[in-house]
Assembly symmetry: C2
Homo-oligomer: 414 residues x 2
């Protein structure tokens, strides 16, 4: 059996009276100093950017999506290639999600963010207007249709584990049911029980696959905590997931905080979870990248987080700077021969002007996406690197106040 000792987490400095801390996650492909932002490379590539460039801008690990790689090229092909890291030429640590979020958001038919805004509605059957239900959940798993060709597929906890073992990322996530804030309290309870049962099946299958695949490095498995906005459900989920063991004694190596929550209660929910979770296991927060959210999550105990946003908005010409976000497509940048941000240390800011980036977007040149993604990913990585330094240096609160003070505008007019 692969050696679970190849995965570990060590806590470094702690924030006074709060769950926030710095630390180091060790994986077979290297270490991750936490808190850390994990850029997303959905289909085994950070869109428009070479892996060496991601390394140069300080990315410590990358996260890919099991659902996408299962459909294309197929997790068996990634396995034959020697695993995700080798396939995509990224020698560092990798994460994969379980595929649950993608297959279930197909089912719900709308994006998480919409659910996050519609808090006064409660229904278990809401579907976005004009959307067909493409996925159905039952106690055993999820049946869904591919967004690529409409073909029918089924994910169960065992299937998700099989795919993620083939993908070979250092950190995997258990297959969980995604709920939204639109679901009733009754449904949340039922769903949480289902996620709990699936977590047990994931551990069992993970144990079996780990024993069978001794030719591959150990892969860590994180449980995913659901429970929406309910304190009792979140706390219960944490305690129960922590107690799960496989027949060989395997427990979860870390925890993902997932599911429906809103910006205003993000910190509270992360806090509830971290009250309950063991101190010595890493905690991943799924899908955040805005500075306020990152400070809130870190302060309340999240160690790592991922988000497609920095690269997605970059491809739409939206640029992050200390004061907020602005769109480089705007005509006022035509003759602006200054860098995006004089204080940024990224390759793009060192070598290109706003006028050039503006030109690339207008001319629909691929390099526009490349250069702006490099900047936005560097911006986010550096933001978190500085948060880590502020925890270790004992000046987190001052640093947070100063950074968010500058960020206040959000829509910047540089």
């Amino acid at each position: 059996m692969s050696d679970p000792g190849n995965f570990s987490f060590t806590v470094g400095s702690r924030l006074d009276g709060r769950h926030g801390r710095s630390g180091v996650i060790s994986t077979p492909h290297g270490e991750i100093a936490t808190p850390a932002f994990i850029p997303v490379g959905t289909k085994a590539t950070v869109k428009a950017v070479l892996p060496e460039t991601m390394r140069e801008i300080g990315a410590q690990a990358l996260l890919a999506n099991a659902y996408h790689l299962y459909l294309q090229p197929g997790s068996d092909i990634v396995d034959e290639a020697g695993g995700l890291s080798k396939f995509m030429n990224w020698p560092g640590p990798t994460f994969t999600d379980s595929g649950g979020f993608q297959v279930m958001s197909l089912g719900v038919g709308f994006k998480k963010v919409l659910a996050m805004e519609a808090v006064d509605v409660r229904s278990d059957d809401v579907i976005a207007k004009g959307k067909e239900r493409l996925a159905t959940v039952d106690d055993d798993g999820v049946t869904f249709r591919s967004h690529l060709d409409g073909s029918k597929h089924r994910f169960t906890p065992e299937v998700s584990m099989g795919i993620q073992h083939e993908l070979g990322a250092d950190i995997m996530f258990a297959f969980d049911e995604l709920t939204t804030l639109l679901n009733t309290r009754g449904y949340q309870e039922k769903s949480l029980q289902r996620t709990h049962e699936w977590a047990q099946r994931c551990i069992d299958e993970h144990e079996r696959l780990t024993a069978a695949r001794t030719h591959r490095p150990y892969q860590a498995l994180f449980a995913v905590i659901q429970g929406a906005q309910y304190e009792d459900l979140r706390r219960k989920a944490c305690r129960e997931l922590e107690a799960i063991r496989g027949s060989g004694g395997t427990g979860f190596d870390g925890y993902g905080i997932g599911g429906a929550l809103e910006k205003h209660n993000l910190g509270t929910i992360v806090g509830w979870c971290c009250d309950e979770l063991p101190e010595d296991k890493p905690r991943h927060m799924l899908g955040i990248s805005e500075p306020e959210d990152i400070f809130t999550a870190v302060e309340n105990g999240a160690d790592t987080f991922d988000c497609v946003n920095p690269s997605r908005v970059a491809r739409n010409a939206a640029i992050y700077v200390a004061e907020g976000r602005f769109n480089i497509n705007t005509a006022r940048f035509r003759r602006d021969f200054t860098p995006i941000d004089e204080t940024c240390d990224c390759y793009t800011c060192a070598n290109y002007t706003r006028a050039y980036l503006h030109h690339l977007f207008k001319a629909k040149e691929i390099l526009a996406a490349t250069l702006c993604t490099i900047h936005n990913e560097r911006y986010t990585i550096r933001l978190v690197d500085r948060i880590r330094a502020s925890i270790e240096g004992g000046y987190f609160d001052e640093h947070k106040a100063e950074t968010l003070g500058r960020w206040k505008g959000r829509i910047a007019t540089p």
Copy 2:
């Protein structure tokens, strides 16, 4: 006045009994060892590739298009940025074409290659089916509509010189009339006279702008030789262009061999021109990149050549190898975990498998274009680097026979 002494050409080794030679072009932005392939960065970017990467794969200079940069972002903006090289973060030598090819091919309404295939027709008014005539030529210049927004514009020799001085490339081309093989002999004669008159106007305007723009490095100006498939016209054009001087004594710094010719007579036409052209001036062949054409052009005296093909076909998944070209999109590459070409020294071949590149194309990922462009440009640059070495080493003919012997298939089945 900027110092024309910043531009020079030195001949190195020569091919016995033929015009082919090696040499060095010195420009204010560095040297170019010839024969050299000059990759095209149409809109001030080699599509999908960072300039540092182009340097790493051995690109010595890049060529951009005056027509495209005039429309977007505007040559005045490139001028304000400090010139093309600075604008696009490419510290090496640059070329710009005159814009003539683009504005006149709008007028003809079909591509050069189509004209090259229709040699039995002769007419001065042929327009491709379904195409509107977007440009009209008169003795003073060309009036045309932008392909971007339909707006009306006019290029004259003076306008082209003004644009190219604003773009600031080390090597510029005189504004010439593009004819096709469909044009009558009578039209070719008339057109050649027009190109001759425009060449004189270009030299005069170039002299004036060079004197006025002393804050910029000297820019070399190449005349363009037309004359289609007619030996007497090609030879006459060479002699007459060589004799042209501005009122201050400026002559052309080099020559571009342009216009209508076919694959089978490429060598013959280049040979006629090089019989007539001065030995001590560099000669650029416009728009070739296939191995046979490159060997033929070099053997007959061409020093540099450019082509969009290596990058254009790369974006469509067509890959060059020693044996020919193949399409990485084909299903047989799904599980092919070998590099594109074991013998290639490029970044893509060193780090990625055919299976990964296949996946990137299927998944419509931008990195597909980046990685395949790197390979194809490296392939072409290396092909020409080896030809240069074979001239200097005295084994050109053996090298040609061996290289084209392997290339014979053209459509490879690796």
